[in-house]
Symmetry: C2
């Protein structure tokens, strides 16, 4: 007997027929004698609809109320799956974030899980009951609903798997694993049998939407064995594992891209110590994550330009915060551009090989693609380019690093 956490994303629970199919997948594990906890997302499209309602009510919405609204999506799917399981003879009960409870901090819209209370869950599992847990949501301070940010259900699943000491955490998605690049763009992309936590982390953070970044961080920290697999087949997917489980490394594991980027430039910022803190402090307080940052060399010794990126979801709020602080920050002009994409090359092999970034720059230059911003990490190089070059760049890089399938 094993203990398994299964997580199903939005397309896997898109309608009642799909939810019935999920019930069958859960039943298969129960019939095999396993204890099962299931984590669900909202029906695909529902969360977007809810976010749309919120922004229509006010672009500068209260994140506490945003959380109340958007958390309703998972509430629907967990209730329906519990009914679907009971209908085929499986004992099951739904659990919302506040019912478990999954305790989080008070960072509404991007909350972090602090603790998952498992006493009642253990009792139910021991009584052969399937736990159907709402992903994406938790209980924050002062009895308010919190959400974990888009894709947060992955994090819910990994956190639950860690808390319950599950043997496996299977993430069912509409792709059958992790690929060297998005197969919709690169027809020669290959499925990876295994990938390290670190590589997966970089891929998640740069827009490969297979798993939410935090879920991978958490899996790495808690050593949760995660498998990304398809809702539509029984084929094995991609295992996310420790580096030492992978014998032969490729130089680069994958090419990722993200279109959810917006570039903001503050022109003529006073070039004085503490100016970066003055700019980014208010953004951090508003829970806005700033990604790539470039500060130009000061031309006149007095002012400089500062460029950075935020997600398009945070764009309006970022502009509002910066405009509100204009008199304090004393910048001359605010420029912004949403037509950008971030392209990233990822691989643990980079640690021991030189010239990987150079190969990227050359491949993009050959296609006459202008690089606007560069950022690097130990196992990743990212560049910001014009959005219309996204596919061209991803394909060129996939070929340049020898990733194309034979």
């Amino acid at each position: 007997m094993a203990r398994i956490v299964q997580k199903f994303g939005g397309t896997s629970v898109a309608d009642t027929d799909r939810i019935k199919a999920v019930a069958q997948r859960v039943k298969a594990e129960v019939d095999a004698g396993h204890q099962v906890a299931v984590v669900l997302s909202a029906m695909s499209g529902v969360t977007n609809q809810l976010v749309d309602y919120v922004t229509k009510m006010s672009p500068l919405y209260d994140a506490r109320e945003y959380d109340t609204v958007v958390a309703s999506g998972e509430q629907i799917t967990v209730g329906l799956l519990a009914i679907g399981l009971q209908d085929i003879g499986i004992q099951a009960r739904s659990w919302l974030g506040w019912q478990v409870p999954i305790r989080t901090d008070g960072m509404h819209g991007k909350a972090r899980i602090k603790a998952v209370e498992t006493e009642e869950m253990e009792r139910r599992l021991a009584a052969s009951e399937v736990l159907v847990v709402a992903g994406f949501q938790g209980l924050g301070p002062r009895n308010r609903i919190t959400t974990l940010g888009r894709g947060g259900s992955d994090t819910s699943a990994v956190a639950l798997a860690a808390a319950l000491k599950a043997d496996r955490c299977d993430i069912y998605t509409d792709v059958d694993g992790v690929y060297t690049a998005d197969p919709r763009i690169v027809t020669k992309a290959r499925k990876l049998e295994k990938i390290t936590y670190e590589e997966m982390l970089e891929m998640a953070s740069v827009g490969a939407k297979v798993l939410q970044t935090r879920s991978v961080e958490l899996a790495m920290k808690q050593k949760v064995r995660v498998q990304v697999r398809s809702s539509y087949s029984d084929e094995p997917g991609t295992l996310i594992v420790d580096e030492d489980e992978i014998v032969e490394h490729e130089l680069v594991s994958g090419i990722a891209y993200s279109r959810d980027e917006a570039k903001i430039t503050l022109v003529g910022v006073p070039d004085r110590p503490g100016i970066a803190a003055a700019i980014f402090g208010p953004l951090a307080e508003t829970s806005i994550n700033v990604d790539m940052i470039v500060q130009n060399v000061s031309h006149d010794g007095k002012t400089t330009d500062l460029t950075f990126t935020v997600t398009t979801a945070d764009f309006d709020r970022t502009i509002a915060v910066l405009e509100g602080k204009k008199s304090e920050l004393k910048y001359a002009k605010l420029l912004s551009d949403k037509n950008v994409a971030k392209i990233s090359v990822i691989g643990v092999g980079m640690r021991s090989h030189a010239g990987i970034a150079q190969r990227m720059f050359m491949a993009l230059a050959e296609k006459s693609i202008n690089i606007q911003v560069i950022s690097t990490s130990e196992i990743k190089v990212s560049v910001l380019i014009g959005e219309e070059y996204t596919e061209l760049a991803v394909r060129a890089l996939h070929t340049a690093y020898g990733l194309d399938a034979a």
Copy 2:
């Protein structure tokens, strides 16, 4: 300064523009110096959609999971209104049933409110914060969400008004008051300025969908001054008051109808003491309300036929329960008919006037409408007829009792 509870139904919060209009109505009361608690339903159509999902998953659904699913509708509207109020400068916070909490019994799908905890609510009202409370839902035993039955938001509003000792409970709907009959059917129907709690109770219980039955019971018991009024105009609506507030009574106040009825007949039931308890006991245990009941005279001294009605919503479950008990109940045959309607004549004037039922039977006979079942109360006479005669019957009765507008 007064304390006001405002309740808005589904069509009043059907989309974000409507919710913004609700925010303006709330603001008007706040600007007038009042303390305001708002109770909301789900967007119109949403609850039906959710119920449809549930029945698609399993017609014999678990009521606890049904409640989890359907309670998500109000969660959306309260969050959106809180955002909308903040957007126009009004302090506001949303409250779900479990957050208030509004404590109920464990009768899932039809729960009754046991207590509304007001300590935190009082504190917020004193701090000039508008309470935006999810209607229809509460917190049952064992930390599960409960719902109060269709139209339960009215009950939530009255219960909140009673608990907060509000001066008024304004129920905003898409009609501008209580009419002598459904104006969509009877063009000569008139709006009533006042109606007694008791009459309103009978009208609600027989399908006049203006207010949920329990909300009227509760208002009567707690002496809550309820006003039914239109979301679209500032005209006064209909006040629901004590009988002694109404000086001149009409004989009959209104004609109501309900199409949500299903007739079930058990043929050849053993005619023995305790048989009714044996039949209706299991239905009551499953929270199925049985309405009109007729037991025929036994022909052979051994068996009899038993006819009763349930709501169409309970129909499938009723059949399932009865078929499950067939060997025990020993009936020969189960007949059922969903094509029936219940027509009711209501008025406190009935208490002191004879012949009111007789006038009803004559009016229906003149139109050749066959009466299938009859039931009476102190201030109401109801008959079950073929559904296709609904409009004809309502119009004929409206005329027969002299209710037609000049």
